[in-house]
Structures are given as C-alpha cells and as structure tokens.
Amino acid sequence: MKPQFATDYPALDAKFDKGDRVRVRKTAPLGHIRTPFYIRGHVGEIERYCGAFPNPEELAQRRDGLPAQPLYRVRFKQKEVWPDYKGPASDVLEIEIFQHWLEKA
C-alpha cells in the first residue's frame, strides 16, 4: 500500500492494508508511548498508511528509532471503544498507531 507521506528512512515493510481489521496490543511497557491507554486491546480498521517514521519510544531514549516503523491511521467504532457511548453507532474515532502496536484481528 502506498503511504500518504513517503519518507526515506530505512524502514520495516508495511504489513497491513487499508481495510484490514487490527487489534491494538494490550500491554503497558514503561517509557514514552504514543499509543493511548484507552485504545489498547480494542479492534479497529486500517484507514490509511501514513508512512514510516522513527519509533518515538526509541527516540525518547536518545536512540535513532530505526528501522522506521510503519504508521497507520486506525478507525474505531465509538460504541466498541466505549460500550456506554451516547451517540449514533456510526460515530468513529481515528488514531495514529505504529505497526509494532498492532496485530491482525
């Protein structure tokens, strides 16, 4: 799948395609993590492949973050994220998530 923004870092291959169902890993490592707690463990759908970017968890430790991690926008249904969500079933939430936080659902 073509990224929206091409980068020239040495990068890992993108494993997911638009429309793939993915689950966010439910884990709580220490450090600088860009995956919000509230979305861990939830299932969504790949909305787009943004491009490959240095891993922020590594950058925060003053390492180079390479190879770059593919970054996706993942779309979640609000009713699945918050069972008591007040609003129509069509409402969604979109979040950028790095590939190493995603597994096939």
Partner: protein
Amino acid sequence: MKDQGTYQPYSYYQLMETSLRELLVEKGIVTDDAVNAEVTAMRGRQPERGSKAVARAWVDDAFRQRLLKNGTAACEELGLEIPALKLVVVENTPQVHNAIVCTLCSCYPRVLLGIPPDWYKSRNYRSRMVREPRAVLAEFGLKIADAVQIRVHDSTADMRYMVLPMRPKGTEDWDEARLAAIVSRDSMIGVAIPKVG
C-alpha cells in the same frame, strides 16, 4: 517570560525553562537572539494561514483534491511553508463532521495555525473529546444531527490535522478574501462551523 507587572516568584516550570535556556546560552548552544527570533516567529503565526488554504479549496476543486491528498504540498503552493509538518486535511461533508484532539499532549499544526488555544490543551477537552464528542461540541454551541457521523481524530504521532469545513450557503458569489474571513480557527479544529453574517 510573562511580564506580570508586579513581582511574583517563578513557578516550577518557569524556573526550569529559564534555567535551561540560560545554560544553553552560557554553553554557546543557542543565542538569546535565536530564542527571541523563534518566539517572535511563533507568536506571529496566525490561523489566517489555514483560512487561506480553506478558502482556496472552496473556490478551486483541483486544489481541494490536492489539499486532501497531501496537505503539506498543497499549502506550499500557496506560499505557506510548513517544513517537516505532515498535514492531513480531513473534509467535512453533509454526512461527516470532523474534529481534532490530542489526548496525549497538545499536538496541533502550529506552523500553520499558530499557538493552540488554552482549552485545546486542557485535560477537560482532551479527555472528553474522544469520549463524548457530541456533548463537548454542544458546549461550543455546535449541535450535530444524529444522521451526521462524527469522526474524532486523536493526533498521537507524526501527523498533524486540519479540518476543511463546508462552504456555507449564501457565499456563492464571494471572492477568496471574503471567504477566508469567515474561516475561524475553531472551524479548522472542528468545534465550530463557518457562518455567514
């Protein structure tokens, strides 16, 4: 950095910022002039830069498509240099309303829209916008019909977001400058919609 008129002791973060800045200057890593120039440039950037891109998209459909495909490249066409910013533009339609938040911190397209409003960085907005967006939008005076899907974008990594609002009815014969004047900062965050009059 704030001039408060009367003496007040530094807060924890002010003290940390001043100490760090003075150390960097002392060690010759940055200069006072460079810091002042950056602060001045940051304060000089206003949301009108984004309004200009929105107004162009309203009058020029080919530009609108380029803006949605690659916001960074399209803004550069207008002379809006936004180096290193990966700008994703999300489009409001009669079926979809978009809104932007950063739950982790305060990610915001600063080089395009300037300094974010204080409420954007508040815990209240950041925690509730992903949880009950319709209630939050209602507090901004924006009631979205249930038939319209709300897409909340949590800006967590390398992308920055801007909403392309819908062009209001009654503006068919307006020129670009007049259109840009009704595109508010809040409408590009998605907590308002442009209105005529």
